[in-house]
Subunit: 272 residues, 2 copies
């Protein structure tokens, strides 16, 4: 892959949009978004893409995952003045990326494309490990509940109340300042024995859009129901414009959360 300065012939004045699906292990990152003095996924991706493009690159992402949160299907995009085939980006970026970030696929897209404004829905998984015998292979992947016992049937009942279009103002971080707090959750599934492991309970949340910490607060609230601190019907009082964050459960630890998938619209194809 070309990595040096641009030379005549392999560049032009046109901008070429590149869209990537990326996966990362969030353990050693201070989240996705660039911050001075911190290791972030955005910075690693920008550095790698700039080495191939031959000029500085700005990465736009569908989701700003928090410190410790993992991704299997994050979507990012950037513009390059150097024309490189999609497969070339995928293979070439790996040479410049650390092994905790991997490109899953690459495609051409419209220059200036921002996947954040093209996201129609997202799917997240929150993983719980049950039982006192904690699996050390899962310590950075699942919230290990240890002596906390939960009843999955109660959690499932509570989860069903969350499905639908509601005001989720009680399920967002205090520093989230978005104006509209109405979101639609198409499904909140409670999967026992996830991945053939009887100790795993997965919460898979699929919705149109999410506020800051929303999935982690949902996970913390479902655990509060599962252990008997809240009743499944308490969910009804937590949905609506007057609901109070303090009535919901704690924010579950970041390392149990994985962004599985971003569903995109058709903006990427415009002028691509």
């Amino acid at each position: 892959m070309p990595a040096g300065p641009l030379s005549p012939g392999d560049t032009d004045t046109e901008l070429h949009g590149v869209r990537l699906v990326v996966a990362y292990d969030g353990t050693d990152f201070c989240g996705f978004q660039k911050q001075a003095g911190q290791r972030t996924v955005q910075e690693d991706l920008e550095r790698a893409a700039a080495q191939m493009a031959g000029h500085p690159v700005q990465i736009k992402a569908a989701s700003r995952t928090d410190s410790g949160v993992h991704a299997l299907g994050q979507v990012v995009a950037f513009d390059s003045r150097r024309a490189i085939p999609a497969r070339g980006w995928m293979l070439g970026l790996h040479a410049h990326l650390p092994d905790d970030v991997r490109v899953q696929s690459a495609s051409a897209c419209a220059p200036g494309y921002n996947p954040r404004f093209d996201s129609l829905g997202k799917r997240y998984r929150y993983l719980l490990q049950l039982g006192e015998a904690k699996n050390p292979l899962l310590r950075h992947r699942a919230w290990q509940l240890g002596h906390i016992r939960v009843n999955p049937e109660r959690m499932r009942e509570a989860a069903q109340h969350l499905e639908g279009t509601h005001d989720f103002v009680a399920f967002r971080s205090a520093d989230d300042e978005r104006e509209s707090t109405v979101r639609t959750l198409w499904s909140v599934a409670v999967l026992e024995g996830f991945a053939d492991d009887p100790s795993l309970l997965a919460l898979v949340v699929h919705g149109n859009a999410f506020m800051k910490n929303m999935v982690r607060i949902i996970a913390g609230t479902l655990v509060a129901v599962g252990r008997g601190r809240l009743k499944p019907n308490d969910m009804l009082g937590l949905l609506g414009p007057g609901a109070d964050r303090a009535g919901a459960g704690d924010t579950a630890p970041a390392h149990g959360l994985t962004l599985l998938e971003v569903e995109l619209g058709r903006l990427a194809l415009q002028n691509a």
Copy 2:
């Protein structure tokens, strides 16, 4: 848990045997067995147990796993002069152990018990991730084959030849010097879509005893068959006293291997 020097009353001249099932993430260990200047699971366990017992402790293990190899069901035992209930060992050891080693269960056993001499069988899993899109969450758990394509059906055919009682001299490390090289493999399963992940192929090997690197050489040989470098029937020539290590596949990387379970006999109960 008591951690200071022994005081009269909580000790006696008797030895109390303790047996533990332990799980560990092998990534940051130089294997199980103690070595000067290296971080090992044995040393971490001995340090933690000594802090609770109030005297130096020698840990005996069912299996010496290599550097990078994981365990979900390693079995170890030691003797303590301090009488502590089994549940106390389990909970107390966690306070003294790093979070990449976790005790799964504890029980009383005969003093002097050595699980290595009581092992009737072991089950190992070797994990392969298929496809160019490497999952960074699995980079320390699975051999990521990347552009190497394998045919699971051919691997399954080869695996069936390995089942049974054979001379596995071609499937051991050059520095293994055990006299008998005959072992029985009860099953060698090739599981596609392991853990509900279509990119995962698990090789689960269940046998009475294993030589050094045996499972990793089996995994490397099955991959050689899967990619067409060996034929399933070539397994027949690799089994038997005259077979040559050079005819088998490479030793697969350590980090794909997990010791799942050790099946024990009844020696632990004698004089317990």
